[in-house]
Symmetry: C2
Subunit: 197 residues, 2 copies
């Protein structure tokens, strides 16, 4: 890829994430983006068909490698899902989000775009489907698998939204615990301690 192309792409992404931090996706115009990115209008449209595609490509830029590497781990090294570390998958994602590179957090914020959430949920579902045998363990009997996978994926996303939306002071590990317990991927963490005493 041409250096000019890379630079333009980068400039547009930066301008876009910068704007996303301040306002709704829907409220952002192409005009604002190109002004902030300092590129020509025609150039923008040469790179991205529409504003929606821009978001889609940003999503992929931000998350594809994460999900892909997880998918690999899931398939190759089962440990990422293994008993003791059954939470490492989710915790890893939460840390990734926590670091907030490129304002990832803003993408989850409740005022923002359905499009991104749809994409993210899809990735989660794919990932979980690749290791059905594990989700199957926590699944209540007689509930369909795809219902359960959808439930876990949705719950994870909504958990993140709850986190970013007024509970941002909590640590990823804490949020991870809440989530895992809620979807039966972990026993109640303090109950254990109580049992021990």
């Amino acid at each position: 890829m041409d250096r000019r192309q890379r630079k333009t792409r980068e400039a547009i992404f930066n301008a876009f994430t910068g704007l996303l931090a301040k306002k709704d996706f829907a409220a952002i115009t192409v005009g604002e983006i190109i002004e902030k990115a300092d590129v020509g209008r025609a150039t923008f449209y040469a790179h991205f068909e529409t504003k929606d595609y821009l978001l889609k490509e940003l999503n992929e830029e931000l998350f594809c490698h994460v999900f892909d590497s997880m998918m690999d781990s899931a398939v190759n090294h089962r440990h990422i899902f293994d008993c003791k570390e059954s939470d490492s998958l989710f915790l890893h994602l939460l840390y990734h989000i926590y670091r907030n590179d490129n304002h990832i957090l803003d993408l989850f914020s409740s005022v923002n775009n359905e499009l991104f959430l749809r994409y993210f949920k899809n990735c989660m579902i794919n990932l979980l489907s690749a290791r059905k045998d594990v989700t199957e363990k926590s699944k209540p009997k007689n509930v369909p698998s795809d219902f359960w996978i959808n439930h876990i994926a949705s719950a994870f996303i909504e958990c993140i939204r709850w986190w970013t939306d007024g509970n941002a002071h909590l640590a990823p590990s804490e949020v991870s615990d809440y989530f895992l317990v809620s979807v039966n991927l972990k026993e109640d963490f303090d109950e254990k301690n109580v049992d021990c005493c």
Copy 2:
């Protein structure tokens, strides 16, 4: 309220829900609405500030009375949440949706509007908060109440979306079971039977 106002309002709502059945909220224009409703442009704006407000008022028209009456039941007649009928609340809502008056189903469909889901979720959270003592029973220890309430409300909505989005052939009672089991408001329904044998 003037008969003319009522009629105009009604016509706009009908045109709007009709269009929602066919296309995304975002893709619907005011022009289409007024054409289908057969009212003047100025008239539309005399009734609704924007398209978003139209959706908001439609939401209220469709769901306010349901949530309000449930809220009353929750406060006055505790039975709606009582052990045996702990599911009647959700089942009631599912039936309401199932009847699909005014194309309620379309509002949940994944291609549609974040705005409506936000509204609906808010109603659910209010409703559940009014009977915290019940959600508290199913709540895992050491998970914050508001996390748990958010979890249940979200899970319910995502359950409906799963239902309307490719599993519409299932009966409300079945979906209700899946949901309740998933959030620990009911024991696994068939496990019981197994126990009996």
